[in-house]
């Protein structure tokens, strides 16, 4: 997973998207009012692999002081909008206050560290949709209080574009808010890192319980139209990789002529956790459908993993392309088989220094053996649908996950 080294060796980012789109099937789609373009490219750090980005506009409530931010990661593994502080002027956005009237901060946790920053209210505009005065997070907000000790106890701060790997993240999974009941019930304490904090002064922040409607909100549920969920459509790729790949994020499910649903596979999910069920190698695994994971991740000791000190450590390095299949449980109780290919990650990553998209990238990913993550390669060439809780769609009432 050490792309930084890889990219240092093979520095060849695509400076011009247009010049790079030839091999990726990334034709410019004509976008409807509820659609925004998505692109997988090398990103603002020049080292992204399999990361889908889009563009959002953030304004002060009421519509002034707008700023448009590109290269925001489209993530079906989180909920809510977070923008890195260097990309917006956080001082024009009103702070969210806790019960004591103190400004609210969040320590957003990822496997590789914590993102600290203020919760602000903003109008979020994507395509022609708008969510008014919703809580967002400004990561690495220069105007925020200092990072408290217990938001730096789990690893490194992810508080800049370079550290976070994108200009922000747009979490569009099937939840209305980022943390949910766990953070609403009581302040976190003890051996785990808290999420929400109230900060009476610029040097003192304490863990608080944060009501659901004041947590960072999935903006999609707050749109005035097309607010029952999203569809993420990515073009297919030909060959082993591509310099870039186009697609689109469509808002609404069955609300417009451009988001009608056909006859997709609807996955069985646990509504409390968004977990799906996958059977692989004869074993039942807890699984996720996650555009923020850059490969398919699962443990299979029969596929050689790349070397520990390899740039592709964490991925699989089979001698030859390996065909695999898994079955996913559908909401009617039946199973459907998904076939996929696992290619040698070393060969892929070194195949062409311009490539940023690979449909056959997979790895053990340091996951427990009972997990299976359908990461970004699963989305390539598909439309994947996420409906929000309690929202009606032609496929049923959310939350639900489907693909076609």
């Amino acid at each position: 997973m050490i792309y930084r080294i890889f990219r240092t060796l093979w520095l060849g980012p695509c400076f011009l998207i247009v010049a790079c789109s030839g091999g990726g099937g990334g034709t410019d789609p004509v976008l409807g009012p509820n659609e925004v373009a998505v692109i997988i490219d090398s990103g603002p750090t020049g080292s992204s692999i399999n990361m889908p980005f889009t563009t959002v506009t953030v304004c002060a409530p009421g519509g002034s002081s707008c700023r448009t931010i590109d290269h925001v990661l489209v993530d079906t593994g989180s909920a809510g909008l977070r923008i890195v502080g260097s990309k917006i002027d956080s001082s024009v956005l009103p702070a969210e206050s806790d019960a004591n009237g103190d400004p609210v901060m969040e320590c957003t946790q990822f496997a590789d560290g914590d993102a600290w920053g203020s919760i602000k209210l903003a109008d979020v505009r994507i395509a022609n949709e708008e969510a008014s005065a919703v809580p967002i997070q400004v990561i690495g907000d220069p105007n925020a209080p200092a990072v408290p000790d217990n938001c730096s106890q789990a690893g490194n701060g992810l508080n800049s574009v370079a550290a976070f790997g994108s200009n922000g993240v747009l979490g569009v999974e099937g939840f209305d808010q980022d943390c949910g009941p766990t953070c609403a019930l009581s302040p976190s304490s003890g051996s785990y890192t808290p999420f929400y904090y109230g900060c009476p002064t610029s040097t003192s922040c304490a863990s608080i319980a944060q009501p659901l409607d004041q947590q960072v909100q999935n903006p999609v549920g707050h749109f005035t139209t097309d607010n029952n969920g999203i569809m993420l459509e990515l073009s297919p790729i030909l060959g082993i990789g591509a310099p870039s790949l186009g697609g689109k994020l469509v808002f609404g499910i069955g609300t417009q002529s451009n988001n009608a649903v056909g006859n997709p596979h609807i996955l069985a999910i646990d509504p409390a956790t968004s977990r799906t069920a996958t059977t692989y190698g004869g074993l039942q695994k807890i699984s996720y459908v996650d555009s923020g994971s850059n490969a398919l991740f699962f443990v299979d000791s029969s596929i050689p993993a790349c070397g520990d000190n390899d740039v592709a450590s964490g991925f699989y390095c089979p001698n030859t392309k390996t065909l695999k299949s898994a079955s996913v449980e559908l909401d009617d109780g039946s199973q459907t088989i998904i076939n996929f290919t696992v290619d040698n990650a070393d060969n892929l990553l070194f195949s062409d220094p311009r490539f940023t998209v690979f449909s056959t990238l997979a790895g053990p990913g340091f996951l427990p053996a009972d997990r299976f993550v359908w990461g970004l390669p699963f989305f390539i060439g598909k439309t994947v649908i996420f409906a929000l809780p309690d929202k009606f769609t032609p496929l049923g009432t959310g939350p639900l996950i489907a693909y076609q």
Binding site: I2, Q109, S152, Q153, Y192
Partner: protein, 118 residues
């Protein structure tokens, strides 16, 4: 470990595996931190839970080694591995469901392997 237990209002239990013992701190059905101890010293820890654990406390003097090495390895918000001769840390998951383990490769008791750290 006692201070951890008090802080987290959790239950703890010990399992004797012969050459080593596993101290488990469980604060909810899905939140668990384990310490693997041989001859009075921790040689590995593992965790699972909705939030990240206090690695500064769990890794002790190795925490800064972890942070420094992690800066060079970062590529994905869903998984991270740090591998130095003295310390290995593997972290994965997403908000609501994190997993990981850390161990000192040179401090394993005889006959114990990384596969024993779950």
């Amino acid at each position: 470990m006692e201070s951890d237990r008090l802080a987290a209002k959790a239950s703890s239990q010990v399992a004797d595996h012969g050459g080593y013992a596993v101290y488990e701190l469980r604060s909810s059905p899905e939140a668990s931190i384990k310490e693997y101890v041989a001859e009075g010293a921790v040689f590995a820890v593992s965790w699972e839970g909705p939030a990240l654990p206090n690695l500064r406390q769990l890794l002790g003097s190795y925490f800064e080694t972890y942070k420094t090495a992690a800066q060079a390895e970062r590529t994905s918000h869903r998984s991270l591995v740090v591998r130095t001769p003295d310390l290995v840390v593997e972290s994965s998951g997403r908000m609501g469901a994190f997993f990981g383990r850390a161990y000192l490769p040179r401090s394993f008791p005889a006959g114990v392997t990384v596969d024993d750290v779950q």
